[in-house]
Symmetry: C2
């Protein structure tokens, strides 16, 4: 039972025999305080176990030292890893974090959301919802008169917009080039849902790399999944039927790749000999799939951390001199982890 009423800066001032302003100065490490006074005030603060009221500070400073983050799909591992990166970097830079998770990836209530953050005086916002369909179409209408810096994750480069993303196109290239190096000639693709920008990027990486290698790239060589293991299962079965020459498949995420492994096995296909499989994401479990899965590792934690750094840098700068334009575009490169599902088969003949 802490019966003490809320201790304020006035209590401290009274006890210390100084004005509340002096206490405020001590709190904010203002230089104009004699070291004796400072020491004394600090001691009183300690004794009273006083902590400044952050709400009052925010109101007065018109700065909250709070960031806002909008996310979606935390039940999936990707978004939550990104969030984890965001939380840790936010903390490290001395900010707090206000979080909103959209119930869907698509929402028509953007304005309310933005206003909520605004009314809470957040110093910056990270929009960590990937571009799907036209779920970013509101940008044109709302972005111009938002006076809070807003940084987007996982969407295409865009004029006057700050974006940090992972290079999915490059990741797909890595996957396909690896399969080609392994001598595969008929590389199929199971894509993510193609209204997702990321899925389209991965597919484009596949398409172009295959073509550039002078290999055929036909419609029956790819099937659209929806990221779930179940959809991967359906896709691989269809692929097995409609594209029997297939000797490798680049799957747009590890969950789908998991069931590809399973179905191929059931269909009597040996992996990697008959069919090589490469996934995407680099989830920890992929190392223990049967067989262990070659995959493209995207460091989503880093993505989140990077986004926060970028945003806070801007916030700090913008306080000073000229209003810098805030529209960097960065894209982080994933890397390939080669495992048994695509281990080069020994060429015993040549």
């Amino acid at each position: 039972m802490s019966n003490k009423k809320n201790i304020t800066i006035y209590e401290v001032a009274k006890r210390a025999g100084v004005s509340q302003q002096t206490v405020s100065r001590v709190l904010n490490d203002h230089p104009d305080v004699s070291s004796d006074t400072r020491k004394h005030v600090k001691q009183i603060i300690e004794e009273l176990n006083y902590r400044p009221n952050a709400i009052a500070q925010s109101l007065s400073r018109r700065k909250s030292k709070l960031l806002g983050v909008v996310t979606a799909g935390l039940r999936f591992i990707g978004p939550s890893r990104t969030l984890s990166g965001i939380t840790s970097k936010t903390e490290a830079l001395g900010y707090g974090l206000l979080i909103k998770e959209l119930p869907q990836f698509q929402t028509n209530d953007v304005q309310t959301l933005l206003q909520w953050f605004q009314s809470h005086q957040v110093d910056g916002i990270i929009w960590a919802v990937p571009e799907i369909g036209d779920n970013h179409s509101w940008l044109d209408s709302f972005l111009p008169d938002l006076d809070i810096p807003l940084l987007f994750l996982t969407m295409p480069q865009r004029k006057d917009t700050a974006v940090v993303t992972i290079d999915n196109y490059y990741g797909a290239q890595l996957a396909v080039k690896h399969l080609i190096e392994c001598g595969r000639q008929h590389i199929a693709h199971i894509s993510g849902p193609l209204d997702w920008w990321e899925a389209r990027q991965r597919m484009a990486g596949w398409t172009n790399t295959v073509k550039q290698a002078g290999m055929e790239c036909l419609p029956q060589m790819s099937i659209e999944g929806n990221w779930s293991s179940r959809s991967g299962l359906i896709a691989i079965e269809q692929l097995l039927a409609q594209y029997p020459q297939m000797d490798a498949v680049f799957v747009a995420n590890d969950q789908m790749a998991l069931s590809v492994l399973l179905a191929a096995n059931k269909a009597g296909k040996k992996i990697p000999d008959d069919l090589m499989v490469v996934g995407f994401d680099g989830i920890p479990e992929s190392e223990y799939f049967l067989p262990p899965l070659t995959t493209i590792l995207q460091n989503q934690d880093l993505l989140g951390r990077f986004a926060v750094t970028e945003l806070v840098n801007f916030i700090d700068r913008s306080g000073s001199d000229d209003p810098v334009k805030f529209s960097p575009h960065h894209s982080l490169q994933p890397e390939i982890i080669i495992r048994e599902s695509s281990r080069k088969v020994e060429m015993s003949k040549n």
Copy 2:
């Protein structure tokens, strides 16, 4: 560029030709406003697109309509699913959410954290970090003089403390009973790290259920893992060596079960015929393991939602009459999902 200065309640009042107090009454649906005035003011608010400053409201009301959540390990699927439940229920109940993720499950900076939340005037806190080792030992010292309701997730029942958890003991019982019903006699266990309360509960459920069935329960029948697939691999290999009679294994999470499947397969054990495997968690991928995994489904999303409901209920009540004691204890029951990894073998003989 929104050149308009921040619109305040005064602007609205001036434009509407009323006092700021009247505007405030309209904002808060106070009854004492004539419906004409109300309508008029609302219209002005609309025209100006005015939104009250939440910070100022918090300061004045001494209530923030914000909840705080402390989490850890968001890179794992469990904590993030719980968080997801928390975000959605928080939103649904009209609250905002301030989040802190601990860098480790163990922290010695609890006081700072609590004070941070306190200084931000949160109306309640959810401590969503599972009990590991003595990472909750601070409870005795700090809890008494915290004047914010605090609700814990995933720790043992405790006097004068609000706890919501999943019944891990019961879940383990479900798993083992199922294996016994399938006729298995030598049921081993791969546990989680035993400094985790949840891991101990699951192990206790295994131990007692095995014993109650009149079966032996020896030290060499269980091995401690650390939740990772890698540790599951090591554990099953050791188990295979030191407990060859084993005809079933209850694994404390699905990640470890994944590599059990893999290793058993490599060792020439047929699943489920030679070895039945039951996991814990019910991750979506488990349906696509090879073979599909029987597992104990714990609904962590629900856990999060439930916690928020409980907390907000208390907050709302506590405003009213007598200071109700806040120390409910609830435990949610998991359920079993039976799949191929433990499908009852046909008894052709009897």
